[in-house]
């Protein structure tokens, strides 16, 4: 089975036979992969009805809902892992979402695009305009990504929130892991980061 590189990295952080909630699960690619490669009890929540229909029609347990209003319904430790792939920057309240994820899940797995990536910095520096990259291909006026952060910003927020980062994977533009640490040059050379979190 083939899935996006960051999703594969996320999947590798998930222990087999665990219970997983994928927030913003889209068409269910990650859930399907997890269900069939790691035998997890895979659940999802997705905003788009098309995505939900695809998921349920493929036998996945997915509900239509808005993470920012519906995650609060779940009890503490309802899941072993709560996953948020490439969506934190599109949330109205990223900090609130992180807090909820670490409450309803024993662990949270978050992947974030790095706004501190050198190509993005260079674009802003040389053109003086909001960067548009292959992976973040929106003009400023149409982007759903309203809360960009750098990897360093993300790490600082986790510290502020007393969230422990158990594992880090820094990916380059080819999707290869270049570092297992968020220190050093990761914030410059990494295009995205994947983090395994738990409340300290």
């Amino acid at each position: 089975m083939d899935i996006r590189d960051d999703l594969k990295l996320i999947a590798e952080m998930v222990e087999p036979n665990s219970r997983v909630l994928d927030v913003g699960c889209g068409d269910g690619a990650l859930l399907d992969y997890l269900a069939h490669t790691r035998n997890v009890d895979a659940r999802g929540i997705e905003l788009s009805m098309d995505g939900v229909r695809q998921c349920v029609a493929h036998g996945l347990s997915v509900i239509q809902g808005d993470a920012e209003t519906d995650l609060k319904d779940y009890p503490a430790d309802a899941f072993d892992y709560v996953i948020l792939g490439q969506t934190l920057q599109a949330m109205r309240d990223p900090r609130g979402i992180l807090d909820l994820m670490c409450r309803i899940g024993r662990r949270a797995i978050v992947s974030v695009p790095n706004f501190g990536y050198w190509r993005i910095r260079l674009q802003l520096l040389t053109t003086g305009r909001m960067p548009v990259t292959e992976k973040l291909g929106y003009q400023w006026w149409e982007t759903p990504n309203i809360h960009f952060c750098t990897l360093r910003d993300f790490v600082v927020l986790c510290g502020d929130m007393n969230i422990h980062i158990e594992q880090t994977r820094i990916l380059n533009s080819a999707g290869a892991v270049t570092s297992r640490s968020h220190s050093g040059l990761a914030n410059l050379l990494g295009e995205q980061g994947v983090f395994l979190l738990r409340r300290a």
Binding site: V52, V56, D73
Partner: protein, 399 residues
């Protein structure tokens, strides 16, 4: 039985109807929620497909207010195709080549299961209003007895829309260990004030008909046809949507070029409703309509669970093992999406296994009975996923 004159069937001997029938509650009468007892009583049902060796492939289908057990075969009175033939049959989403499908007429009904039109052994006369008041819980209790009679410990799935969805929820809450999966469609965990109000209009229409005779019309040889027809007309509006009505009829006139300045059915929509009312009285018993609407009004899962819907899904303090798939329809204002969402939120709060899909359609509440391909795909996919978990099929891919 197309030869049977339709107007006679509602009081005809149920033994003349096709399908299966069983007498239940003969040794021990069934205790009803009202405290009354019922037994022995009859349950009419149909089955489709074959029960497998370990009896793990049974699907129970619960019908709606005026439905019956003829899910996938021709209706004995109207001659119309089964009411869920699009969903149930060989190669259909509920595939009778793979699953053993059971559907029964609810108790209180009028198509073979014991109801108010049947003879009360105590008096030798039709029960009429002496039939005990029923609840959704009572209906499902009778269904459970039928399932036990068929030797099945655990249903693979229970499926139903509208009142059938209430029964589906009731099954999952009352017998969580006997249900692997549940698909409540276009339904609610309690009947809303607005819906009780609509039902009351229907009941008052029936009871205001002089031919109703205080429920004794069968004894007195009359039929409250006008009252029942009006009840049906009012209810039928609630099953549709404003856009669907407009698309179908607009303000079109019925067989005339101008309004007549009178109270004839000038408009097509009037003519349509009158037809719906007239057709309904051919196949339905007025007292059954009173009893079944009342059962729906009394339905309130949260109230039964100490005021918390979440508690209904936490039997013995543990999360329900039932896998749920809720489906709602965007233009359904009788059982709007918010009702399904309330159930989803309650299930989330106990970390239950739940899927939820709202289908976009302008067909209103009736959409669950109509050709809605996305809805059918969802049912198919959910059942496939459950079959995999239940071990009814090989997994699609190696682990």
């Amino acid at each position: 039985m197309p030869a049977t004159p339709p107007t006679v069937v509602v009081s005809a001997d149920a033994g003349s109807l096709p399908g299966k029938r069983v007498t239940l509650g003969a040794d021990v009468p069934m205790r009803l929620d009202s405290g009354a007892e019922l037994g022995p009583f009859e349950v009419a049902y149909q089955t489709y497909g074959t029960l497998n060796a370990d009896k793990s492939n049974a699907i129970y289908i619960c019908h709606a207010l005026t439905g019956d057990h003829f899910v996938a075969d021709r209706h004995p009175i109207t001659g119309k195709p089964g009411w869920w033939e699009m969903l149930v049959g060989p190669g259909r989403p509920v595939d009778t080549d793979r699953y053993f499908v059971i559907c029964s007429n609810v108790i209180g009904g009028c198509l073979g299961s014991s109801g108010p039109k049947d003879i009360d052994p105590a008096t030798g006369q039709p029960y009429g209003l002496n039939f005990p008041i029923l609840t959704i819980g009572d209906m499902v209790r009778a269904q459970k007895l039928l399932v036990e009679h068929l030797g099945i410990d655990k249903l693979f799935c229970v499926i139903g829309g509208s009142m059938g969805g209430m029964q589906t929820l009731q099954w999952a809450v009352a017998y969580p260990e006997s249900v692997f999966a549940a698909i409540p469609i276009a339904t609610a965990a309690r009947h809303s004030a607005q819906n009780i109000a609509f039902h009351e209009v229907g009941r008052q229409a029936i009871m205001a008909d002089p031919d109703w005779r205080n429920g004794q019309y069968l004894v007195e040889g009359t039929r409250p046809e006008r009252g029942l027809a009006v009840a049906r007309m009012a209810a039928h509006i609630t099953y549709l949507s404003e856009p669907a009505l407009h698309r179908k009829f607009g303000r079109n006139l019925q067989d005339r070029k101008a309004v007549t300045y009178g109270f004839d059915a000038d408009f097509q929509v009037e003519s349509y409703l009158r037809y719906q009312g007239a057709a309904f009285v051919e196949r339905f018993d007025a007292n059954s309509y009173l009893y079944i609407t009342r059962a729906m009004d009394y339905f309130d899962l949260a109230a039964d669970a100490g005021g918390s819907l979440a508690n209904a899904f936490r039997p013995g303090g543990k999360t329900t093992p039932v896998r749920f798939c809720l489906v709602s329809f965007s233009s359904d204002w009788l059982f709007p999406t918010s009702e399904s969402r309330a159930i989803v939120h309650a299930l989330n709060s106990v970390a239950g296994n739940v899927s939820f899909v709202e289908i976009n359609t302008d067909k209103g509440h009736d959409a669950f009975l109509l050709d809605e391909p996305e809805f059918h795909q969802v049912i198919h996919g959910f059942l496939e996923g459950c079959a995999e978990h239940r071990g009814l099929t090989v997994r699609r891919r190696a682990r």
